[in-house]
């Protein structure tokens, strides 16, 4: 994540104005804060995504070390094991769709449409669960075919990297359902929707990460 800090030098007039305002505030016991472009919650979640990006960078870097270090991929010992590209491709579309529905939920609450918010949140959560379900059944199939965590770095990094993403999807789904519950309880309005806002940012991150992993792990 990049943090851009912009400092504009104030003119002498503005500085004097600042000074006058400060005196007035002190006299009248008023406390104001500079209006910030990002709320604390939003900034906090974006900062968290910086850390998440680095976590996945570490794992993707590991994947690339093994991928580039092996002439054939999968390594010779794993010939015959095919990752389910097509099913996962469809699953990818499913997850991307959930990104769209989450965005719609976010749009809905901005227009104060609480009922729409609930519907879109529910659809998003179900799509997320569907994604996890398809992933899970694929894993069962792969393990039956002999690709396990112990089968060399090929199987190891596959399960760790994809699994790490799956854990993130799972936590995001839980979060969406919590937000859904809060929406059912009528906790959000067009002027108060921090919960939806932060959840949307996190969800979009998890969704946007997936195509990268899909291309690297399944297609490369």
């Amino acid at each position: 994540m990049e943090i851009v800090i912009r400092i504009r030098r104030k003119t002498e007039n503005e500085k004097h104005l600042d000074y006058e305002i400060g005196i007035m505030m002190a006299q009248n016991n008023v406390e104001i804060r500079d209006r910030q472009p990002l709320s604390n919650a939003r900034l906090g979640i974006l900062v968290l995504l910086g850390a998440e990006t680095m976590l996945f960078s570490g794992l993707i870097g590991t994947f690339l070390v093994f991928r580039v270090g092996n002439v054939t991929w999968p390594p010779p010992s794993h010939i015959g094991i095919e990752l389910p590209r097509v099913v996962t491709g469809i699953n990818t579309a499913l997850l991307l769709l959930s990104g769209y529905t989450m965005f719609q939920a976010w749009r809905a609450i901005q227009k104060d449409r609480v009922k729409q918010l609930r519907n879109w949140l529910l659809i998003t959560g179900v799509l997320g669960l569907l994604f996890l379900g398809v992933q899970g059944s694929e894993w069962v199939q792969l393990i039956r075919n002999g690709l396990t965590l112990q089968s060399g770095v090929y199987g190891g990094i596959f399960y760790v990297l994809i699994g790490c993403h799956a854990v993130h999807v799972l936590s995001a789904v839980i979060w969406v359902f919590i937000v859904f519950g809060m929406a059912m309880a009528g906790r959000f309005s067009a002027s108060r929707y921090t919960g939806v806002d932060t959840c949307t940012i996190y969800w979009i991150f998890v969704v946007a990460l997936w195509p990268i992993l899909y291309v690297l792990v399944y297609l490369s």
Binding site: M1, I3, I5, I7, R9, K15, H16, D18, Y19, G22, I23, M25, A26, N29, E31, I32, R33, D34, Q36, L38, S39, N40, L43, G44, V47, L48, G50, A51, E52, M54, L55, F56, S57, G58, L59, G61, T62, V65, F66, G69, N70, P75, S77, L149, Q150, S151, G152, V153, Y154, G155, G156, I157, V160, C164
Partner: protein, 607 residues
């Protein structure tokens, strides 16, 4: 009447909410400080144990070791002999019997000692004190806000750190002992129990560091958000005190660096517990031990700057205050810190010159590493420029500040030697490296920590620390520190390897016996000198001289708050009119102008 009682009850927080599970940033800061000081003694104690072994190899420890008569003839002479006899008589194989029979440190135990010394000092002492304690205590006070952005996360950060310390402590008592692969945990030593004989110790080590990673993550999210969003009116970025700048930069480094270690630790845990072979060179399915080194040092080198940057920040507060002069080159100080933080990401390979790397890459890492000398020198000259022709007051915090600068210069200069690939081939993995790291982290960060504790103690507890004790502590520490670590440069150039349990086994190292004994004696002096600090700390909390609101005449905002600082910090949030270092402004009556003082026409700029 009833109403009155009710409101009073509401304001009075219970002991647990006020001191244990507190949401107040000042209490959490103090909690981190005491946590760090406790761990400091654990880590220091481990160091004294292996220092004994290096000076007097395979001889029983004093006090807890068995006497010579007992070893020779089985004759019980001292109380320790009786203890050992009881341990040997019991059927159960006790922890002490395995790790140091009769008080003699076994080579396996020695491996564990240096591993845990470094792990504890880096992850449980310096980072919690510099970032956890000073960060929590200072950030809201110095930028002028009532608390952190996310107080609950802040509390979570501390208690996760406690959990990590508990998990790490359990590791000492599991069968097989604690992690023994060095603090860097190089694979395959760390990845496969057959090399070190350590089973659960290494697992707990990794799990504990993962928890510590969560604690840091939560903390840095809090710091970054607070500093960006919650500054007092008028507190622009370039009016922030340099210590806040350093903590801001460090929070970003921690945020981005620690997750890389977390990913490596997760892979390590999979290797050890789930049968994967990520870091194994010999396994059938592939695997790469060098991968661990890349991941570890990609985190590890930013971590080195995490350890020193807040120290630089603290020194940048102490030196202008006690020179009664503005800091020399405020903006260049900020840009130098940003440059150091940025360069820190592209130098990790200099730890791996010997690990097998394309020579061209070695040149790249050598160049980028030596580039760091430029911003570091900018900072050093700025500190000197600040002191030059100042009205220096040699208070104890200032002594620590000056010690910081001078020790940092020595540590920094030895770093340039090591960055040279041809030189590093010779001194790699010798005591030269140990000398360098201790000059930077002990001579640098810890002197800044001591100075910072004494400097902000009046704000924390409303009392001064006892100055006579502080001065004794400073001089003992300063002299003993140099006696301990300076000779290590010579050992290193003489080829004394870094992680050997018994130097006397090697003929070419036997000449260093006297020097090793000298170092050990100095190290014990150094260790015991720290008891003075801790005694002084707790004694002064209750018995110290009561301090006024701003005893050192400092400009920054924390001294605007009443002492001791109440919940919520300020009566009214102060407005900031000027930069933090306006000391001895020509034409002014007083030699300091607080940042929140509005009587004068606003200053022209922050620097």
């Amino acid at each position: 009447m009833h109403d009155n009682e009710h409101t009073e009850h509401h304001h009075e927080e219970s002991f647990i909410r006020k001191y244990i599970f507190s949401l107040d940033h000042k209490t959490i800061g103090k909690q981190f400080l005491i946590y760090g000081l406790i761990m400091f003694f654990v880590g220091g104690g481990l160091a004294l144990l292996f220092r004994w072994q290096l000076a007097y190899p395979d001889q029983p420890l004093p006090i807890i070791g068995a006497s010579q008569q007992y070893l020779d003839e089985g004759e019980v002479v001292t109380g320790a002999d009786r203890m050992w006899e009881r341990i040997y008589d019991s059927d159960k194989e006790e922890w002490l019997e395995v790790s140091m029979p009769s008080g003699v440190i076994t080579p396996e135990f020695y491996n564990m000692l240096f591993t845990m010394h470094a792990t504890i000092m880096v992850f449980f002492v310096v980072v919690p004190i510099l970032v956890g304690a000073f960060g929590n205590f200072l950030i809201p006070l110095m930028i002028g806000t009532r608390d952190m952005a996310f107080p609950i996360l802040n509390m979570l950060s501390f208690w996760l750190a406690v959990l990590a310390a508990i998990v790490m402590a359990i590791g000492f008592f599991v069968p097989g002992g604690h992690a023994a692969a060095g603090w860097t945990g190089y694979a395959p030593l760390s990845a496969d129990p057959q090399w070190t004989g350590v089973e659960w110790g290494q697992n707990l080590w990794a799990i504990s560091l993962l928890i510590q990673g969560f604690s840091s993550l939560v903390g840095s999210i809090n710091y970054i958000t607070t500093i960006i969003n919650m500054r007092a009116p008028g507190m622009t970025f370039f009016r922030m005190p340099l210590v806040i700048w350093s903590l801001f930069i460090v929070a970003i480094l921690l945020l981005l660096a620690f997750p890389v270690l977390s990913s490596a630790l997760a892979l390590l845990i999979f290797d050890r517990l789930a049968g994967t072979t990520f870091f194994s060179a010999t396994a059938e399915g592939g695997g790469d031990p060098l991968l661990w080194q890349h991941l570890f040092w990609f985190f590890g080198h930013p971590e080195v700057y995490i350890l020193i940057l807040p120290g630089m920040g603290i020194a940048s507060e102490l030196i202008p205050v006690f020179s009664r002069k503005p800091i020399f080159g405020y903006r260049s100080m900020v840009y130098a810190m940003i440059a150091i933080a940025f360069l820190g990401w592209i130098v990790w390979g200099h730890h791996m010159f010997q690990s097998g790397m394309r020579p061209g890459m070695g040149n790249f890492f050598m160049t980028t590493t030596m580039l760091i000398a430029v911003p570091s020198a900018i900072k050093t000259f700025n500190w000197l420029g600040t002191m030059f022709r100042g009205s220096i007051r040699f208070t104890t915090p200032m002594l620590h500040g000056i010690a910081f600068v001078s020790m940092f210069v020595i540590g920094g200069l030895s770093g340039i030697y090591m960055a040279n690939t041809p030189v590093d081939i010779y001194i790699h993995d010798t005591y030269y490296i140990v000398a360098h790291i201790h000059y930077v982290v002990f001579g640098g960060s810890l002197f800044a920590i001591f100075g910072g504790i004494i400097f902000w103690f009046p704000k924390m507890y409303g009392r001064y620390m006892n100055d006579a004790l502080s001065k004794i502590h400073f001089w003992l520490t300063f002299i003993a520190f140099n006696c301990t670590f300076f000779p290590m440069h010579i050992l290193g150039v003489g080829g004394h390897l870094r992680r050997i349990a018994n130097p006397q086994q090697y003929e070419y190292l036997q000449v260093f016996e006297g020097m090793n004994i000298f170092i050990t004696m100095s190290a014990f002096t150094l260790g015991f000198a720290q008891l003075i600090l801790v005694f002084n700390y707790f004694w002064s909390m209750y018995k110290g001289k009561v301090a006024e609101q701003n005893p050192w005449h400092v400009n920054t905002l924390e001294w605007e708050a009443p002492t001791p600082v109440p919940h919520g910090n300020f009566g009214q949030i102060p407005t900031v009119y000027r930069g933090p270092y306006e000391y001895s402004v020509p034409g002014e009556e007083s030699d300091w102008i607080p940042q929140a003082q509005p009587e004068h026409a606003p200053a022209t700029s922050g620097d």
